[in-house]
Every structure is written in C-alpha cells, then in structure tokens.
C-alpha cells in the first residue's frame, strides 16, 4: 500500500520537475531550429469550426486562498509519456462526489485524450502550485471548470503546434483528435497522416503555454466525455476488489498504532490519570498526555487527552478502555440540549438583530387579515462518514510526512507545520481516498494529533485511529437551531409580510470570540436570500452561545432554514386553501434576477463566495425546476389513503433544486418513501452520472436527518456514541426510487455546485408529504421514524 502511495508521490514530484526543466532546456535547444522551420505560435487562428473562443468570467475561485494556482498550466497538471500514456493531476479530494474523475475528464476532453489511456494522480497539499484544494462548499467544478478547460485546451494547442513543426505546415492544418494530431488539407479534410500524442509529447511539453486569450474551447457538440455520463469513476475497480487506499490503509515500516482518550466535554482538562492497568495490555508501548488547545477560539486545535500507543489498533483500544482518567469538565459541562432548546425557542419569540429589512413587516403584520406562525427545531447533526477519522504521520530527518483522508490538505499542512514548529517546506501532506467527508474532514484536528504523537515518539511512524465513538462524540457539529417563520396575509390570501427569525450557535464561535450571533456566510444560506416576491420581509437573528465545537455538515445552514421556510410555505398554503406547489410558485413570483439592494439584503450576503453578477438568484430557473419536479412526480394525482406528495425547492451554491417526495405512512405510523423526484439546474454540467449519484445519496442522507440522526448533549457531553444509539437510514427504510432530471444548460450559464444543494429540500419535502398523507405536521428534526 505504501509502495503505491510513494510511487505515486514520486511520479508526481518527478513529473512536475521534469516538465519544467525539460520545458526550459528543450526550448533553449530547439528554439533556433523551430524559428528556422517557420514555426510560430499561430494558435489564434481557429483550426476548426467546432471550437469557440474563451469567454472568461470571474468566480469566487480567484479569491480563495491561492486561487487557481497554476491550474491552467499543462506543465503542472498533465504529463504525456513517450508511449502516449497521459497522466492528469487531480488536486481536489475524493470523498464520494466523483471529482477525482470529473475534473480530469474536463482536461482530457479538452485535450482530445483517449480516456482509456489516461490515469489520474492525486496532488499532495500544495496550493501555490495547484490552486486552492479545500474540497468543500460545492466549489470544485464551480471554481475549477475554467482553469481545467484552459489547461486541456492549452495542451491540445501545444500538441497541434508540435505537430505543425514536425510536418512543417501551418498549425491551422493540424487538428487534435482522439489522442492524435491529424493533418488536414486546405479544405480542412483529413489527409491521412497523423501523429500520436506519445510521439509529440516531448516537443509539445517544450513549448510555452499559449496565452489565455488565444485558447479555443470545444463546443458542447464536440465533447467526447463531458455531458456523456458514460465515464466510470477512476477508482471503481480498486474499490470493488479491496485495493483502494483510504486513510487507515497506509502502511509504513515499523508503524505504531494509537488512539486518544479525549475530554468528554469541550474544553475539559485532565485532572489526573492512571495508566497502570492500561500498560498491562500486551502490545502497549507507551501512554502519555497530549496537550490540547484550550484558548478560545480553538479553531481546529486538538482537544488534548491521553494517547495510547501500541503495536496494533486493537491493543491501543483495549488499553484506552483500561485507563482511569479524572476530568475537569470546565464551564461547558452546563450544556444540556433540553433547556437549551427552551431558551432558543424563547429567544425566537422576541425581536432579534435585524439582518435584512425590506418594506415594513410590522405594518403588514398589524394590518393583516390573517397570520401564520410556525416554529421549527433541528438538533445537532454529526457528519459520521463511514470512515472514521484517521491519520498516519512520521518525522524523519526533520521532515514530517503525513497521510490522511482530508478535504483541505494545504490548510492541514500549514497547521501541522506550526504545531511541529517546522517550516512548511518540510511538511508533506498526502491525500488518500476519503471514506466520506461531509465537512468533517475539512477540520484537521486529527492530523495535528497524529503529528504530535509521532513527534513524541521521536518521529516514529504512527497511525492514529479515531474510533466510531470518538467520531460521534468529538465532531464539529452542525448547529442546533430554532427557526421561526411569521407570515401576514391580506383579504385575498396574498402574503404581505414574511419574517424569519433564526436562533442557533454560530460556526464563527470556532474561529473568533463568540458573540452569540451568526455571520454573513450563515445568513447567506437560505435566510436573507429567500427569493420570495413579498413586499415586506424581515430577517432577524437571536442570540445563542456555543457550548460545543460548531462546524459544518453537507449543506450547512440551508438544512434547518429550508426545512422551516418550505414547511411554512406548505402550512400556509393549507391554511389559505391553496395548492402547496402553486403557492410556492406564487411566492417566488415573476421571472427575474433578484436585486439584492432593492430587497434590503445585507451588503455582504456572501452569495456562496461568487460574484453576484455572474451567479445571480434567477427565479425563472427556480420555477422551472419546481415545475419539472412536480410534473415528473405526477403532482396532483389521486393517491391512496396514507400516501401524499410534498415539495420543497431552493437555489444554493448557484444551483436551483426542487424535490418532490412521495411518502407512504404505514398502518403502524412508519414513514416510508417509495419515490422521490429531484429536478436541478446546475448550468454547465460535466458528469451527469455522478450528479445523479449525488442526488440519490442526498435523498438517503436527507432521510437520515429527517427521521433519525439527532445529536444531543447532557452535562456537556454528547449522549450518542455509535450506530447502535445513533441511527442513519438503512436499506430497511430508504427512498426506494430517486429520479433525477438535469436541466440542459443554455449558452453562457456557468457551472454551479452539486455536492450540497440536493440535500436540504429532502426533509421539508418529506415533512410536507407526511402532512399530505396524514394531516399531521412534524416541525422538529429529526421527526422520528413514526408518525405518532
């Protein structure tokens, strides 16, 4: 296993250095000859009508740490061996979205590579070179589609230019096609001669990268991989035969195995510990204290505790069980979910800090013919990837090397360097496959822990394993929240006022002193940007302090917000005697791009990090997916008793998504989902097969947090520990059939997010379907698997 990783890592190092060195030296060597043969970079002449010029647009990708790096440079991202084997770097982490396949597909398609001759190599954490690697926020395709297309187009044009030089013809007569460059006649017809990419690689790689404005892209009609949905993920075979390498599969010679006993309450410290019994366990080698980060804000600082090192994971776990530790729990021991929700509910009944103010909600409320109020609760969530956190670390000759399933390898590298007091150049972070991430693996506390243990062992290689219990009890939890919606209606049943109050501990508490209030990123997720055509809208945030580490879980604040808003829409429709789908469309109102200023949005409402002009909130696209989902699900059809349809929709990460859930409540009250339909518009899309799998998975994950998966606290500690007392959806009860409809993009529509936006609509659509089936309204997540 190690062999595999080291070989890949070495290949990568050699390749990027080699390409750069070769580029310089070959250019020196060939420069004159090329000039003499009339070689020019005449690539601005279109060489085929199937190509179109680049129309670059800004995204938030430029503003992320290290932006695009050198992602559009083929010398950094592509290598072609003399036999024609193409290697493409993938710099984002694979946690199940398929990105390790989809981004290289973009490069391969643009450069006309034969996919069967492409292999993919995972980049280590190096953002200055590869661009931002924080695989989070549904950003990979949204932010890297352009540099990846540029990289592939540049490589294609370099290959064509190299062929032109070999043939001594103008480059306009050379066209890249299926891993070859073919020679055209003046009528642009193929004449027969062709050169393989392997034959051209050295000369092509020696060329300078064509300037961005000279690049030509393939038109969608010419795509061979993108949009086709026929490409299998690159790791498929390895996964099915047990050869895929995840975090704990890294094996180093002489490697030790460790676990840590961490404080049950956040901020807790060791009063005393006794390792006498633990040290008697055969195979145990050492037991020592790991200092935690106790100063607030803790960021991703390790929790501290007692580390046990042994010659097997099993011995380490047994010894940890035998430790006697007395903890000083500290002030967070008061955290108790039951009173905390009561307090949040009270806060939500009072005015909060005004975050968005459009028109005059109070006047609308006071002058209303009728009103609606609904309060919706959601317990904490834990990401619970199937692969618990794990990390391998070793320090040799003053250099640290770390292997981990990590969403953000460069962020981890920076903090590991700081923790070990090493310059960042002396720290290498290798990224294995991630056995799920869902946001947990973008917080690298577990990697710093492993590095510190290795340091304590004088650099010996060590594998730090988190048990499932550790994973459940020591996460950065999705916040617990109370969302309250108030609506005012006039005589005609029109909504004249809409107020949304959110009360929830903030993610910001992890990064800055806790004010009890949320911040723009949280406000921008289904709170201030609800696209309703209502004259008076007010959004308020009530105070709630954090008593545990608050982090993110796939889709973040959109989950509780959309649950509240879309449940309330359905409830209000029922109160007004309207069809919920029609009422939702009525609330969204006319086709338009929202004008955030005119609507009283806060100045910075984040917009998922993207410039608003390029990624606006477009109600026409939202209404379109609502109509498609409703139609495909047979909205309005007669259903037997105990069955019903529910709908929910939103725009998030730039993607419009609507889901219709068909619920069937059995005689004993069990909630089942025979069918769900999702329609989505994510603009320029690449890999429809993986988009479908993401949405199928989102339905299952949505079912989990809708029915089962709350995390609660008592005396400051998490009450759940493992899948025995914390449930997720199983094959016994999951959405049995999920249909996905992807809207074909129009020219100029940018790629938007996929990993997250499909998740939030499921729970409210299910709650609305349960209401349609039974007349019972479930306002708290998790709802429980049965209707009482």
């Amino acid at each position: 296993m190690l062999h595999y990783l080291e070989k890949e890592a070495r290949k990568l190092e050699h390749r990027s250095t080699r390409a750069i060195i070769e580029n310089v030296s070959r250019r020196k060597f060939l420069g004159g000859a090329l000039a003499a043969s009339g070689f020019v970079l005449a690539v601005s002449v279109p060489n085929a009508e199937a190509l179109e010029p680049l129309k670059p647009y800004p995204t938030g990708g430029e503003g992320m740490p290290h932006g695009y790096g050198k992602a559009s440079d083929p010398h950094v991202y592509v290598s072609i061996a003399n036999d024609g084997a193409v290697t493409i770097v993938t710099h984002r982490a694979e946690m199940g979205t398929g990105i390790r396949t989809s981004l290289p597909m973009v490069v391969a398609d643009e450069m006309e590579a034969d996919w069967s001759r492409v292999s993919v190599v995972q980049a280590p954490g190096d953002e200055p070179l590869y661009g931002n690697q924080d695989t989070d926020g549904s950003r990979s395709m949204r932010h890297f589609i352009q540099p990846m297309r540029e990289c592939g187009a540049a490589m294609r044009q370099m290959l064509e230019t190299a062929a032109a030089a070999k043939w001594g013809v103008d480059v306009s007569l050379c066209r890249a096609k299926a891993h070859h460059v073919v020679l055209l006649d003046e009528a642009k017809k193929e004449t027969g001669p062709k050169l393989g990419y392997g034959e051209l690689s050295e000369a092509a790689m020696a060329l300078p990268v064509p300037p961005r404005e000279s690049l030509l892209f393939k038109t969608p009609e010419e795509f061979t991989l993108m949009r086709k949905g026929e490409t299998k993920i690159v790791d498929l075979r390895d996964i099915t035969v047990g050869k895929a390498v995840y975090g704990a599969d890294v094996r180093l010679p002489g490697m030790k195995f460790a676990v840590i006993a961490r404080p049950p309450v956040l901020g807790g410290k060791i009063k005393s510990f006794d390792a006498t019994e633990a040290k008697k366990i055969p195979g145990v080698e050492s037991v020592f204290e790991i200092e935690g980060v106790y100063d607030v804000p803790r960021k991703f600082g390790q929790l501290g505790g007692v580390a046990v090192v042994a010659n097997s994971t099993y011995a380490a776990i047994l010894a940890r069980d035998a430790l006697e530790i007395e903890w000083d729990d500290g002030p967070n021991a008061s955290y108790d979910s039951v009173p905390f929700f009561k307090e949040m509910s009270k806060t939500a009944s009072e005015p909060g800090k005004v975050i968005r103010n459009q028109g005059d909600f109070d006047a609308a409320w006071n002058g209303a013919k009728s009103t609606f109020t609904g309060e919706y609760h959601m317990q904490h969530l834990v990401q619970a990837p199937m692969e618990p956190l794990v990390c391998v670390a070793r320090i040799e000759g003053g250099k640290a090397e770390v292997w981990a399933p990590v969403q953000s390898p460069y962020g981890a590298r920076q903090d590991i360097a700081a923790a070990l007091k090493l310059p960042i150049e002396d720290v290498t972070v290798h990224v294995t496959l991630l056995g799920g991430g869902f946001g947990r693996k973008s917080k690298w506390d577990y990697m710093v822990e492993a590095a510190l243990i290795s340091q304590k062992l004088e650099g010996k290689p060590v594998l730090l394993q988190w048990t499932r219990d550790d994973d459940t009890r020591h996460s950065f939890y999705h916040t617990a929240s109370v969302e309250r919606i108030d609506m005012a209606f006039d005589e005609a049943g029109k909504v004249t006022g809409f107020r949304h109050r959110t009360v929830a501990p903030s993610i910001l508490s992890t990064f800055a002193p806790d004010s009890g209030y949320q911040f723009n990123i949280e406000y921008g997720m289904g709170f201030v940007n609800t696209p309703f055509d209502v004259p008076n809208i007010r959004c308020e945030n009530g105070k709630a302090m954090a008593h545990t580490r608050i982090g993110w879980y796939r889709s973040v604040s959109n989950i509780p917000r959309l649950f509240a808003v879309q449940s309330a829409v359905c409830e209000a429709a029922h109160q007004l005697g309207k069809d919920p789908k029609d009422f939702l469309l009525e609330l969204i109102g006319p086709d338009r791009k929202l004008d955030p200023k005119a609507l009283g949005f806060p100045e910075d409402f984040w917009n998922y990090g993207d410039p608003y002009e390029e990624f606006p909130i477009d109600t026409a696209r939202l209404k379109n997916v609502v109509r498609i989902a409703a139609e495909k699900a047979g909205w309005g059809k007669e259903l037997p008793k105990g069955q019903g349809l529910g709908i929910a929709a939103h725009i998030a990460w730039g993607t419009a998504v609507a889901t219709v859930v068909h619920a069937e409540v059995t005689d004993d009250g069990t909630i089942t989902v025979p069918h769900a339909v999702t329609a989505l518009d994510c603009g320029f899309y690449v890999n429809p097969e993986r988009i479908r799998s993401q949405i199928e998975g989102a339905a299952v994950m949505g079912m989990s947090h809708a029915l089962y998966s709350g995390i609660t606290f008592k005396n400051g500690a998490v009450e759940q520990s493992n899948f025995s007392d914390f449930s997720i959806a199983t094959m016994r009860n999951f959405p049995r059939q999920v249909d996905v409809h992807i809207v074909e993009p129009k020219a100029g529509q940018h790629a938007t997010g996929i990993g997250e936006p499909g998740l939030p609509p499921f729970a409210p659509a299910l709650a609305n379907a349960v209401f349609a089936a039974t007349g019972k309204r479930l306002r708290n997540l998790p709802m429980g698997e049965k209707v009482a």
């Binding site: 296993m1 694979e94 946690m95 199940g96 979205t97 299998k232 993920i233 790791d235 498929l236 075979r237 996964i239 099915t240 035969v241 047990g242 895929a244 390498v245 995840y246 704990a248 599969d249 094996r251 195995f257 055969p282 195979g283 010659n311 097997s312 994971t313 099993y314 619970a384 990837p385 199937m386 692969e387 618990p388 496959l433 991630l434 056995g435 799920g436 991430g437 394993q465 048990t467 499932r468 097969e689 799998s693 993401q694 199928e696 998975g697 299952v700 994950m701 493992n722 899948f723 025995s724 997720i728 959806a729 199983t730 094959m731 016994r732 999951f734 959405p735 049995r736 059939q737 999920v738």
Partner: protein
Amino acid sequence: MATFTVNGESRTFDGDPGTPLLWYLRDEAGLTGTKYGCGQGVCGACTIHLDGVAVRACMTTIEMAEGKSVTTIEGLSADGEHAVQKAWRQLSVPQCGFCQAGQIMQAASLLSKNNAPSDDEIVEEMSGNLCRCGCYQRIHAAVRLAAGGV
C-alpha cells in the same frame, strides 16, 4: 496458537485469541480491504466470509476462526470478476467506496445461498450494511443484477 486459512492460505496466530479478525487482518496480515467502521457489528463495513458465510470481522475473534476458512474482499475471486463485483461496476454503485467491500461480501454471501432473492430478501440481508453516501438504490439493483448473471 490458532490455525485457520485466509483467502486459501494457511495462517497461524499466537497472540490474544480474543483479538477480532478485523484487527488481525488489517494490522497483522496487512489485508486492508476489510474496513473498520464501528467496532460493534452494527455497520457491516468489515464483513468477511467465515466458511463462506458473511460475518462481521469486528465481532469474530481469532478463536472463533480456529480451523475455519476466512475470505476477505481480496480473496473473493482470483481475478476480481465475481458476479457481484461485476454488477457493482456495471451500475457504478460506489460513491466514496469505503463501505463497499463489506456490501459486496454481504451480497456474495446472500447469493451463494439464494441465487434468486426477492426484493424483500435483499433488503433483509443487506440492511445491516450501512452506507452514509446513500448508495442503497444501486446496491439493491446490483444484487438483483448479479443474481440474474452479469
């Protein structure tokens, strides 16, 4: 000293007979295809075959394996072309892939004793194997596909 076979090879282990096969396979034998997910037999990620029947490696001790044959995902078929593996690939079942070795071993065990399972039998047999990515729809379809011959 316990004696058993792993993927057809004879093995002995003279450590703690209470050691779960999971940790023996991963940390001693270096067969990392079998995954740790929960350690309590409630997630199925570590599913292997003991004398051809699916068991959870985290709940099966070395002692229980005495004289028996252990099969892991690495040994399910010599060439990786077991009907279940082929069906999994044909339908592109995995997302992150971490639970899939366990899923495949569970499905192979089911099909070895019942080559034409009903939908409900598939649910019954596979419901102890969790998948957080939510691949159940395709897992169910792939078991059916494998049963029909790929």
